[in-house]
Amino acid sequence: MTNSLTELSQLLAAAVEKSGQHVVAVHGRPRMASSGILWRPGLIVAANHTITREDEIEALLPDGSTVRARLKARDAATDIALLELDTTLAPAPATPVTDLKPGLLTLSVGRSATNGTTATMGVLSAVGGPWRSWLGGHIEQFLRLDLALYPGASGAAFTDTHGNILGMATSGLSRTSIVALPAVTVNRVLDALLSTGRVSRGYLGVGLQPVALPAELTRKADVPNRHGVIILSVEPGSPAELAPLYVGDILLKLNDKSVEDTDDVLTTLEGLAVGAKMEAVILRGGVRVEASIEIGERPAQS
């Protein structure tokens, strides 16, 4: 009674059953539960956008029991919420990240409040390098999934066909597609949340817009730029105000790297620790000015 299709079917069902042992349903918002992964002993990783309550959060465990969970910390920028609960259930085993390639057959394994384990199948449709989410979170690897996440499945485990949990699937990081957070990102964010309660990100406190520069100006300022970014606003008390930077200044270089777009500023900030000094080359009133800015910490976003 076996054929190759049945074998594949059994393989997929077994993978869902295996990874489903580490997937819980989380009641963290009105009406509809979402999914979460038992990532470390007593710690659940869930999709931050599905946790709208700060307390009275409950988790439905794979063994059918419901336990109270506490919101320990959250990082909206990577859509990770960390919940703590009392359970002796084994967390998902740490899977070494193999080289993920587009086309890999993948499953999303969630848990519904009423129906137990839920699953969808698809392929890993794109694998890219590091990227930044729309809320500014740094994510080590871009993983786009060509599968459906049905209501309540955000926070589901993203697994291979052997049931190895490779990351967390969420619909909260892209409007157009399902994106998975790789395990390495989850681990890094988890470590940061556990040690300091937050993920600190570099901050200048400026509003920026790219502008094209006339060749004469850049020649006078002695920079190779064709574009710079103009400062449109300066937050009170921010590192930029203390530097000081003024509205109308045009950033040309940060730490000897040309700045042509707002993205370049964010990339430079990403590689630097809070408290580090950053040397900036600025065009102020047509005159080249150099300034030193001490990077601050970005205020929390919810």
């Binding site: 054929n3 993978a15 059953e17 519904s112 009423t114 209501p151 955000s154």
Partner: protein, 352 residues
């Protein structure tokens, strides 16, 4: 069956799938040959009349008679007088596990014998649709798949494809419910009922719920009664009155069916308790239909009958549609659908 390739499984399933066309309808649904005696199982919303034409995989066409129909579970059976049928093998819907591969065959959008595969998403009720069991399958279904088979990886039928929710989640009536229906075989003789004339209109509005914080966007059906004879408040006003009372601290209209029943009673005269309220909805309004069905499933004395546009006795219901994209579960029945009009046309030059 020792070993069969995917192609063989698909072909066998395709031969057990039929096209169901009811009189006066532009499109059609699908059905499953249930046994060699000519029993065809399909959805009740495909079986819109007592007579239908069943088209087999090899092109043969047979007239069929409706033998049973259960609008609540959305199942119906037809009988055809044919030989050399290829009945479907029945599987065990209770033994399915999430992640197992499933195959759906049907006649979506006018294509005959189209096949699609996916995996079982979950098993059980779907919040916002109904409290009944469903095989929830991550397969791509389209209008015209209604009544067609959903089979496991060995080609054994585990459900009848019925509707799509949340954009693309296919819901199939599980085989164990089909078997229960076949044993009971509820026939749909419309009961006698009081009649009033009116129309149903979809509406969208914001309603403050006491039990939840903030506002919820609600979509539902507003019932308007065409006035005749003794003047009464039309139901829409009655419903507003209930809502107003609720805002002032009265009993919340938490039970929409009850609220609507009150509204209907106020608008149409009071049907005796226990009498059958017949809700006839305009054809071609699958969303309205699905909403009604989910609200009326626990009301055995209410029944939905498809009509040709006019509504006989007005009842209506209200199903909250959550504004957050992740929470919206909007049901769309895979009802019949007109054949595509973009079939190739001859490129003959017009005569001069």
């Amino acid at each position: 069956m020792i070993s069969a390739s995917f192609g063989e499984i698909a072909e066998r399933l395709r031969r057990s799938t039929v096209e169901v066309k009811t009189a006066g309808e532009a499109g059609g649904g699908s059905g499953v040959v249930w046994n060699a005696k000519g029993m065809i199982v399909t959805n009740a919303h495909v079986a819109r009349s007592k007579q239908a034409t069943i088209g087999l995989w090899d092109g043969r066409q047979y007239p069929a008679t409706l033998t049973s129909r259960d609008a609540g579970r959305d199942l119906a059976t037809f009988k055809i007088d044919a030989r050399d049928l290829a009945p479907a093998v029945q599987g065990n819907s209770r033994a399915l596990r999430p992640g197992e591969i499933v195959i759906a065959v049907g006649n979506p959008l006018g294509f005959t014998g189209a096949l699609t595969t996916g995996v079982v998403h979950a098993l059980g009720p779907v919040a916002g649709v109904s409290r009944r069991d469903w095989v929830q399958a991550d397969v791509r279904l389209a209008p015209g798949n209604s009544g067609g088979p959903l089979a496991d990886s060995q080609g054994r039928v585990v459900g009848i494809n019925t509707m799509v929710v949340a954009g693309r989640l296919g819901l199939a009536v599980p085989t164990h419910d089909i078997e229960r229906f076949l044993r009971a075989g509820r026939t749909a003789t419309p009961h006698r009922c009081r009649r009033a004339t009116g129309t149903l209109e979809p509406f969208h509005r914001s309603v403050a719920h006491r039990s939840h914080s903030g506002y919820t966007r609600c979509a539902g059906l507003a019932a308007h009664r065409r006035h005749s004879g003794r003047r009464r408040w039309p139901p829409i006003f009655e419903r507003r009155r209930l809502e107003r009372r609720h805002r002032r601290g009265g009993r919340p209209p938490d039970d929409p069916v009850r609220a609507w029943r009150q509204a209907v009673c106020a608008g149409t005269g009071d049907p005796a308790r226990g009498s059958v309220i017949r809700v006839q909805i305009a054809s071609g309004s699958p969303v309205i239909r699905a909403g009604l069905e989910s609200m009326l499933e626990d009301q055995p004395d209410m029944e939905i009958v498809d009509g040709g546009g006019e509504v006989l006795l007005v009842d209506a219901t209200e199903e909250p549609v959550h504004s957050h994209a992740e929470m919206s579960v909007v049901a769309m029945c895979l009802a019949t659908f007109p054949r595509p009009t973009w079939q190739p046309q001859s490129m003959r030059h017009p005569r001069a």
